[in-house]
């Protein structure tokens, strides 16, 4: 149902228990509790009405409100037990999952920016109103009065709205660096000081409008930038949580209690239902099931779990309930190891300097030196200190980095927006710049290049009846193999079976008259000799092999095109997977890409570090827990929406759609954005080249400054809007069909 986050549902359909709902809700006041749910399927006004009506009908629900922008529902309810919220939503066709309370904090930064923007907007419009009267000829006392009123409005505005820039400027100065906010702050403050002095001297020229409208323009850029990134982060935060929140613990006295993950200690006995994820590292003491380790190690084939098997946190239990004993607390589990490795990788990575800061480092000294030279020159020429200072400050005002300050943020806002429309969420502003320089792409296999859903194909072509029979038996199980097999037989007529039973960890046994059919593990279903060697699933009748199926990794849609587009863009590509050699080489062969198999998390980090040593800028695309350290170690990283929580958080970009072409598209947008940023810098420099001589010659008036500043800002903004005007298309090589032909066994 849900139109977002494809691929996340199929294996993660673990369901949310009442205990989990209770654990995640928070108390408002006397018995009223609030639960926030993420409902990715909300996409129109009718959804809001249906959801609110359905939830409102439930007993105990006091208030339900759906939010279309964030695709969330907040519900307030009474009583000790939560109402069946998720079931009610499922009934009307919406997948819902708990929203992470930690990701749910309001955004004080945005509120601050909006308030600063509103104040600056108010002040600049009023001061402009007064300035327009002065420009159109107000004289003597009237002009002084208007200047004084302007000063009265400008002072509190600078004190309030200007803080955004002053704080950042002083922070960077204290660290002995300059960023773009330093020349901005100097320009704004000097313009105000000069204007105030002129006003007290009944002077003709005051630049209050310039100083405040500069703040206003720059705050627009800052706020838009922040809003776009907050939206992207929110979309990522709304994705289903894949790690366990807690587990059902059996206490020695026989009672059961649901405990949050942090409170689970070693030697506790945990009851793990089918479809649940392992909360902490543990060992199986009872039961027999199969495990999906694809998020943990990258292995795509399910593994058998019997008594004594050690399980890593994050593994998904597929077929049957297990009783396990915890062997480590959450803070010592596999997940925690990954976090430590990520921290180590993070520490080894040098801080990236934003392009705007690098520009400011060149720009600020040049402009300030020019102002100083103008001052010295006029001092020597006229000996009039007042005049020399006025002109020097006019130079600073006219060159104030309005256009330069907007050059980067506006392009980034438009680029983030374009990516957002394509389902690609960018979480960090500098990620776009880092993506531009990428020249090597490292891809994980399971869940990134492949769809994460297994696909079974016949080893030897068999009669259609055998396939129909296999599909009919498989329809009785929720095991991913069974579901893949059942899908194969959809077109065929159903086969009548007398009784079907599931044998956990082995397969399905069906009876039809005298014949006993078995569908499952080769060693269990049929005599060993009759089974082809690479078979993963076998259908047998009374022990004789009828059909054998082998596991086929299904490429994510768009994988071929994505690889072709990345190659065409001049990037070197390789696969780094934790899966077995045979499987990885199969996929790599199909795509024509270098690969490394059996890579442990540390190997992945080492490989990326080695690539970076050679001077390459690495883009890592991965989804598993085991990829998380590598995602941190790379220059820039990307993860699909179906990735493990920790990987999603570590990645700079998250793509929500199934299609892998998100990767080349993001690179293309980043490169286009970088081109526009360079153009914007060129425009800003060209403007300064014209404006500085006029200012140095002492010919600048406040009206000229206002017009020049607004015009240069508008030019820069208009240039930024050109980004992504034409729709993104794959490179010519892909369109012309020069890519390797699709393998016959592949569903396009």
């Amino acid at each position: 149902m849900s139109c977002c986050a494809p691929g996340a549902e199929c294996l993660a359909d673990a369901g949310t228990s009442n205990e989990e709902l209770l654990l995640a809700s928070r108390t408002l006041r006397d018995g009223l509790r609030q639960t926030d749910l993420s409902v990715p399927g909300i996409h129109c006004g009718a959804c809001l009405q249906r959801i609110e009506a359905a939830l409102g009908r439930l007993d105990g629900v006091a208030f339900a409100r759906a939010n279309l922008s964030t695709r969330r529902v907040s519900v307030q309810w009474h009583g000790g037990r939560p109402p069946p919220l998720i079931a009610a939503l499922k009934q009307i066709g919406y997948q819902a999952h708990l929203h992470d309370a930690a990701a749910d904090r309001s955004d004080p930064e945005l509120t601050r920016l909006l308030l600063a923007l509103a104040v600056a907007g108010f002040a600049s419009s009023n001061i402009m109103l007064l300035s327009a009267s002065v420009w159109s000829g107000a004289e003597a006392q009237t002009r002084d009065l208007f200047h004084w009123i302007s000063a009265a409005i400008a002072l509190p505005t600078l004190a309030y709205s200007g803080q955004v820039f002053f704080r950042s400027a002083s922070r960077s100065l204290r660290h002995g660096r300059t960023n773009m906010d330093v020349p901005i702050s100097i320009g704004v403050l000097l313009a105000f000081a000069l204007s105030l002095y002129e006003t007290t001297q009944h002077g003709r020229h005051a630049y209050f409008d310039a100083s405040v409208s500069l703040l206003f323009f720059l705050l627009i850029g800052r706020t838009l930038d922040h809003v776009m990134r907050a939206r992207a982060r929110q979309a990522v935060a709304g994705l289903a949580r894949l790690s366990a929140r807690g587990a059902l613990v059996a206490r020695p006295d026989g009672t059961q209690i649901y405990l949050p993950v942090d409170e689970i200690e070693p030697d506790m006995t945990i009851l793990l239902a089918a479809g649940e994820r392992v909360p902490v590292d543990c060992r199986v003491v009872k039961g027999r099931s199969e495990l999906d380790r694809s998020l943990v190690s990258g292995e795509s084939a399910p593994q058998l779990a019997v008594e004594g098997t050690a399980l890593q946190a994050g593994t998904l239990n597929l077929t049957a309930p297990l009783t396990v004993v915890a062997t480590a607390a959450a803070k010592n589990s596999f997940l925690a190891d990954m976090v430590r490795m990520m921290e180590a990788a993070e520490a080894g990575r040098s801080a990236y300097r934003r392009i705007a800061d690098r520009a400011a480092r060149l720009y600020a000294p040049v402009v300030h030196a020019t102002a100083l030279l103008a001052f010295i020159g006029w001092m020597m020429a006229t000996g009039d200190a007042h005049r020399a200072i006025t002109i020097a400050i006019a130079v600073l005002i006219i060159t104030c980095p309005c256009a330069l300050g907007l050059a980067v943020p506006m392009v980034h806002v438009v680029a983030t927006r374009r990516l957002f429309e394509a389902g690609i969420m960018i979480k960090d502003g500098s990620a776009l710049e880092r993506l531009t320089n990428v020249d090597a792409v490292v891809l994980d296999k399971t869940g990134t290049l492949t769809a994460g859903r297994p696909r079974l194909t016949l080893v030897v072509e068999t009669r259609t009846e055998a396939r129909a029979l296999a599909a009919a038996i498989a329809a009785h199980s929720r095991h991913p193999y069974s579901q893949a097999l059942a899908a194969l037989g959809e077109a065929q007529t159903p086969v009548a079976l007398d009784a079907v039973a599931e044998v956990p960890g082995a397969g399905l046994e069906a009876r039809s008259g005298e014949t006993i059919y078995r569908l499952g593990r080769p060693d269990w279903a049929a005599a060993p000799l009759s089974v082809p060697p690479n078979a993963a699933v076998v259908l047998s009748a009374n022990g004789a092999c009828l059909a054998a199926f082998r596991l086929d990794d299904q490429l994510r849609s768009g994988a071929q095109e994505a690889i072709a587009a990345l190659t065409a863009a001049g990037l070197s590509i390789e696969i780094l997977s934790g899966d077995s050699e045979a499987r990885v080489s199969d996929i790599a062969g199909r795509l024509g890409v270098r690969f490394t198999a059996n890579a442990r998390p540390a190997d992945k980090v080492a490989r990326i570090a080695a690539l970076r040593q050679t001077g390459a800028k690495v883009l890592m695309v991965g989804d598993g827990l085991n990829d998380a350290p590598a995602l941190t170690a790379a220059d820039v990283s990307m993860a699909p929406a179906s990735a493990a929580d920790i990987g999603r958080n570590a990645a700079d970009l998250v793509f929500l759609r199934e299609d892998l072409q998100a990767v080349p598209r993001a690179v293309a947008v980043a490169r286009q954005a970088a081109r526009l940023v360079r153009q914007n810098f060129g425009l800003a420099i060209a403007y300064n080249v014209v404006a500085i001589p006029v200012a140095v010659l002492g010919q600048v008036t406040p009206l000229m400054a206002a017009v020049a500043m607004s015009a240069s800002s508008l030019v820069v903004i208009a240039n930024a809007l050109r980004l992504g005007e034409r729709r993104w298309r794959p490179p010519a090589a892909v369109r012309a069909g020069l890519t390797p032909p699709l393998t016959p066994g592949l569903v396009p």
Partner: protein, 64 residues
């Protein structure tokens, strides 16, 4: 000159009134769901199913 004593305060006062009302809308969460608000204008009846008579506590923490 005397006109300024009326006109200037009126002009600035109107600006301040606009600023104050913007701050109020921001604080009371009216920008939390801009897309939803655009759709809700088409609904009939009240804005949402408040089941109980008493006013609910405003939902916390889902500010944008």
């Amino acid at each position: 000159m005397i006109d300024f004593f009326f006109l200037v305060p009126i002009a600035i006062g109107m600006g301040l009134a606009g600023l104050a009302s913007f701050m109020w809308t921001l604080k009371s969460g009216q920008y939390d769901d801009l897309e939803g608000a655009a759709q809700r204008i088409l609904f009939e009846g009240h804005e949402g199913p408040v089941v109980e008579e008493k006013r609910p506590a405003p939902p916390t923490g889902i500010r944008t």
